[in-house]
Symmetry: C3
Amino acid sequence: MSDPPVLLVMDLAGTFAFALNGALTAIRAAHLDIVGVITLGVITAIGGGIIRDVLLGVLPPATFVDWRYLAVAAGGGLIAFLFNRWLTRFTSLIDVLDAAGLSLFAVTGAGKALAMGVGPAQAIILGATTGVGGGTIRDVLIQRIPSVLSSGLYAIPALVGAALVVVADIGGVNNVLGVPVALGAAVVCFLIRVVGLHFGIDAPKPPGTGPEGSAASADDGD
Amino acid sequence: MSDPPVLLVMDLAGTFAFALNGALTAIRAAHLDIVGVITLGVITAIGGGIIRDVLLGVLPPATFVDWRYLAVAAGGGLIAFLFNRWLTRFTSLIDVLDAAGLSLFAVTGAGKALAMGVGPAQAIILGATTGVGGGTIRDVLIQRIPSVLSSGLYAIPALVGAALVVVADIGGVNNVLGVPVALGAAVVCFLIRVVGLHFGIDAPKPPGTGPEGSAASADDGD
Amino acid sequence: MSDPPVLLVMDLAGTFAFALNGALTAIRAAHLDIVGVITLGVITAIGGGIIRDVLLGVLPPATFVDWRYLAVAAGGGLIAFLFNRWLTRFTSLIDVLDAAGLSLFAVTGAGKALAMGVGPAQAIILGATTGVGGGTIRDVLIQRIPSVLSSGLYAIPALVGAALVVVADIGGVNNVLGVPVALGAAVVCFLIRVVGLHFGIDAPKPPGTGPEGSAASADDGD
């Protein structure tokens, strides 16, 4: 794993990306007011980390002990509320922010799980859970099927990003060509997610369920 | 903060109010049978406190250690089931009970968070989370957009009530004119919520989203 | 209570049953792809145990410490995905698997709660919560009213199964006619659930809500 400062910066960046994403989702998909917008931004931003910390038994969660997470989350929500009209011009921004949060949290989540001494498989799953957790709570609250279920390439890049961190940790590798492993793993996760979104790549459907099986994933990538 | 007996009575009163509210919601909005009615009443009543205790790391939660919470929650659900036809006459009762539970739990939740030694901002957020938590789980289970997202004046009174408790605690004030601070803070929270409901006050909508932005909050206050 | 090996086998059997059920539900009710199918299978399989362990303060949950649960859950999801077309022939299989998971987890959950030293009432509720937890998360994620709310005989058999375990524990009884109490309690729970499903038995509706009150439970038993 890379050193803590890199992880902290990545964690706060992921918090900010998910806060913007959650708040913009609240505006576009659910037409909420300022309280709903900021609340959904904050929940999306800190939900994944809270699930991770509860499962690791790190209580109260880092979000509550360290005020910077709450400040960045609330600030992101407020910025999305104020500059909503301007941000709307970038049509795929909401998906890019989601991919950024997913990638950053999958990597930092796996790193924190390793630091708590859990096994490799558990660290990968907890990392992916951190990445998909906030967005899943967001989708449940506004009554959408969560992306982690409906979008083929959502859980997979998170698992890949987390696995890269775990493999590097086992191998004792901190940097590759001067780039911290954590940063590289997040970039890989991000690229898989964005490429999958752009080309509409789906994971295989169950045998025998026919083309109507694509309905659930088609309304994703909102 | 006021003394423990006041907090315990307020906590049990909030449990009872949310149990009635959750059970009546199960009857009116979701047409559930006796098991569904009592289950939703109990979950609404103890959900907020469980979220608070999990986040504080107080496990098992107070609800499970102290049988009085479960008894009051189940009793409230049963009373709502039995006297449903009579209670239906009071058309706004379901909203008033929700406002009562919100106010009482925001205040007692902030008090418990302070007693566990978390910081002021964290205590305010945990108090508000205690207040809105049970109703949010209730709404998710019966597939409604949670009030905390869709209703402008739902999170705000909870934050105000919790903040009054925290400010009084910092100032070392326990009573104002003989009234315990906790009770006064709950009354303030309750009045903001009820006045907001009565006059249909909404928080500002994002700039540029137009009048259709009010759709989500219009179907609140069921 | 019976001895640990029996409980472990029952716990893994419940995990497998819920994994198959969750994955088949993902295919039939939500038309998800392979990632969504396995994810919903795993969440359904380990969700109840995670809720139980969080509430008991046993963190990280057994699911993460013991790799067998994750392996059985993922394997069950994969088997359901691969043999979906063949499994579909057994029309009530999805309900039978749900009843099996409910029964096994209610019993093992109550046993684990007792082993952690909580009181009898708490052990019964935590056992039932373990049984209904995974299915409730499954239903919330795919936007159905959870069975625990809409189906009269879902929470009740779970409470009965858990109560039998607690009563036997208080009485110091481990076996009845050579059959471990845990196994017998699970069979009782399973039979109540399956008989209730088969005959469409519902718990009483609130007085005065009329026949339209049956709408919510009619679409259960999918």
